[in-house]
Symmetry: C2
Subunit: 470 residues, 2 copies
């Protein structure tokens, strides 16, 4: 082994041991030369080798950095990649800070995960809630314990059928929002210490749940248009003892990707061959801009291995906390975890939502909401183009209300978030969504609020902040 | 060391390693003699030694059994006592079977944990729910995220004050029922592998939560009148690295005990000196028969170490899933676990319950409910006396709706449960509530339903079943 190869191997070991973390700056050529007592030329050769292997990246005039692409790290990832735990404090603090900020009317919620509550038929929902609660016979307070209100489960099963997915009412367990459903599913299909495959970037709650349950994450890169790379994904499954996957094939949070149906099918088949359950987070499914509702991965599930989780929180009834999972062969297990953790989902709320679905004009509301979100997306994209500096790139998801915005590479989105918050604007920085604190020059911007001059002004302010930090 | 002492030590190690489990039959004298190649006399001497130490019990004409009294096991308990996991299947199955049975009108719910839903002002609640939901401004769907609706938290804080407990609204976190509160608290104050002190017998959900979170239980015996033995409890705290306690000082489920206030105070002081948090499950507090509401242990909390959990499920609004905890120094931590697991408690439900508390006549309802439960308790005790065999003993709790019934020692309550269920009567057998599957000749019987000839007939049937099995 030549000298530079040995040096490269030493550095590689430091990367895999987590001493040099993804995104960290490598020692300068001069520093490494002194530290390792080799010539600068040897250091340069070692860096070129690491670059060729994808383990470090050179940035002009800035030096070398450990590759952000966690999934790209060879072999030892599972053992030596930084565990989710190492990123706990930062990610959690950011998440909680932004969650706290949405409670205040005074903060412009560009970082919010919630659509404006004014976009929903809250009055009509309240009427359904009151009248359904009055009609509820006392015995229903017991009969509607998990799996939950039968009428509601039948309506949900029927809606699956309408969009080409065979799900029986028996398979559906009503939950307190999709977040509970996802957490229940993860508990039902994993054991502490197990490995869960997720996307990078991903919904931060997946990271939190994995940490809380003592699980380990392996991540696969996801493309803002088509979602995860199936080759990389298959490779991950070959290399790690994956107990479960938690993925968002439709309008992924934060990047907005939509996996084409043939790839969803291939994904399900890949997992079915290995008997690995897929927890499918599908909360934005109703918010499509096209003419047809995209089918979920669940549509291709032949073995009952897909646990499809969704809710009415994003499309109809924010704050009601009404979700469900269609959990395939795991329904009975979910039922039991639910009974022992929250016992039941509010029984009048279950009846109220069922009433609205029958009488409230759900489809008309959805059409209006989808149209509004599509227009707001265009408005937000145009405003970002107007106000953000050269080098900014914006995703154009086919549904939902998140824009994944790539800032000029020199901009640190954590700085953007900090400065913006001091000016009363929230924004969700990339590292919040990354098990490796990657995506440091990305932000997620919500287009979930009606366009106003104040919103335009806030985007302009944000653009100036980004410009000032680049 | 003599031969019989060495044999006793071997057997003791098997007990502590969980090879021989509490309640398991020890090898016969002859079998052990052959197996260990010692004389029958040596085996008998070893058994006498183990008996003296309380590790095995002799039963006439039946042989020797590993002691059921888990808490009585010396020293090594924490390391080697059977974990809760070993009892998982049985206890859980029983719990789920009985939970399932309460959904059916056809089963007489003597084993139910729920009061008859007809005992609650459900129509008036539905009116409050509907009108509060209609009045709710859209922004509240975000503002009432955890810790929750401020008006409701203020009302709860005020009710604490009225019963002599200082709790600020800021300390209160609204949850989806007390069960969620208890689970959140346990997550917030323990780490996997930690030791939690519980009562034996105890509420089965404590056992389930401890198991699910990868914790270990040590239990202290509890008296049907006064609750846990504080000396035994202090001893437990000295011997084990207890991270938290989960206790029910007021109307304990299943035994119905009420710790006198001076003992509650001593309990809190005992824990405060050791900085150990107390999760106080206090869901039956409003259902007292005396003239004054018993103060909780929380009343004596000076260090913010008591996490007081309660709900409206048992006293006002079953099925609404509205509870809370006043979590002292842990409130912020609870808030965060809640945000990452179920996000929020249904926001219209929070507003609806607040409306009822202000306008619905809560105190009048409570007076009526307490009176009904007291009468039903007397009716049930008398019926048990009429129909159950000699040797049956019944507790007389000062509140709540559970009777802890000791059957003649020869009766196995699991058999009682099985036979009763086959005749359409549910009953909750003692081992459901015990980390050691103890209390095999106890049942918990609910007096939470209005007296009817059918109920009388069911108690008579149950009495005949017990008689037949004794």
């Amino acid at each position: 082994m030549k000298l530079y190869e040995r040096l490269a191997r030493q550095m590689s070991e430091q990367i895999h041991a987590g001493v040099l973390r993804p995104g960290a700056r490598m020692p300068s050529v001069r520093g490494a030369s002194r530290g390792h007592r080799v010539s600068p030329a040897t250091v340069r050769q070692a860096y070129r080798l690491l670059e060729d292997r994808g383990e470090v990246q050179a940035r002009p005039k800035s030096g070398h950095y450990v590759s952000m692409n966690w999934a790209g790290l060879p072999r030892q990832v599972e053992k030596s990649a930084p565990s989710v735990r190492t990123t706990r404090v930062d990610v959690s603090e950011l998440v909680f800070e932004i969650l706290e900020s949405v409670k205040s009317d005074a903060v412009v919620p560009l970082g919010s995960a919630f659509i404006s509550p004014t976009a929903f038929p809250l009055n009509r929902l309240a009427r359904s809630l009151g009248s359904a609660a009055r009609r509820l016979s006392p015995h229903r307070m017991l009969a509607d314990l998990p799996p939950g209100n039968l009428q509601l489960r039948r309506i949900i099963a029927r809606r699956y059928l309408d969009s080409g997915v065979k799900v029986a009412a028996d398979e559906v367990v009503i939950t307190s929002g999709a977040l509970e459903a996802l957490n229940l599913c993860l508990q039902a299909v994993t054991r502490p210490g197990g490995v869960v495959a997720i996307e990078d970037p991903t919904f931060y709650s997946a990271l939190q749940a994995i940490e809380r349950l003592g699980l380990r994450a392996v991540s696969v890169p996801t493309h803002p248009r088509d979602g995860i790379d199936l080759n990389a994904f298959a490779d991950t499954l070959d290399r790690h003892p994956v107990q479960a996957c938690w993925l968002m094939p439709t309008f992924q949070n934060p990047v907005g990707s939509l996996m084409p149906e043939d790839r969803k099918q291939a994904l399900v088949e890949l997992l079915a061959a290995r008997e690995i359950p897929l927890i499918e987070d599908d909360v934005y499914a109703e918010l499509y801009f096209g003419s047809v509702k995209p089918r979920p991965a669940k549509a291709f599930d032949k073995k009952g291995l897909v646990l499809h989780c969704s809710s009415f929180s994003k499309c109809l009834a924010p704050g009601y906390r009404l979700g469900w999972c269609a959990a395939g062969r795991y329904s009975a297990a979910i039922d039991r975890v639910k009974l022992t953790t929250t016992l039941a989902t509010s029984i009048p709320v279950q009846a109220g939502i069922a009433d609205f679905l029958v009488h409230g004009g759900y489809e008309r509301h959805l059409r209006r909401l989808r149209r509004a979100l599509e227009i707001q997306q265009t408005q937000m994209v145009q405003a970002i183009r107007r106000h953000f500096p050269q080098g900014t790139r914006v995703s154009r998801p086919q549904g939902g209300y998140f824009l994944w915005v790539e800032l000029p590479p020199s901009v640190n989105s954590l700085d953007v978030q900090r400065v913006a918050m001091s000016k009363g604007i929230s924004v969700a920085p990339g590292p919040m969504f990354s098990p490796t604190r990657g995506y440091t020059h990305f932000v997620r911007i919500s287009s979930g609020h009606p366009w106003t001059p104040q919103l335009e002004a806030s985007v302009a302010t944000l653009g100036r902040i980004v410009d000032g930090l680049s």
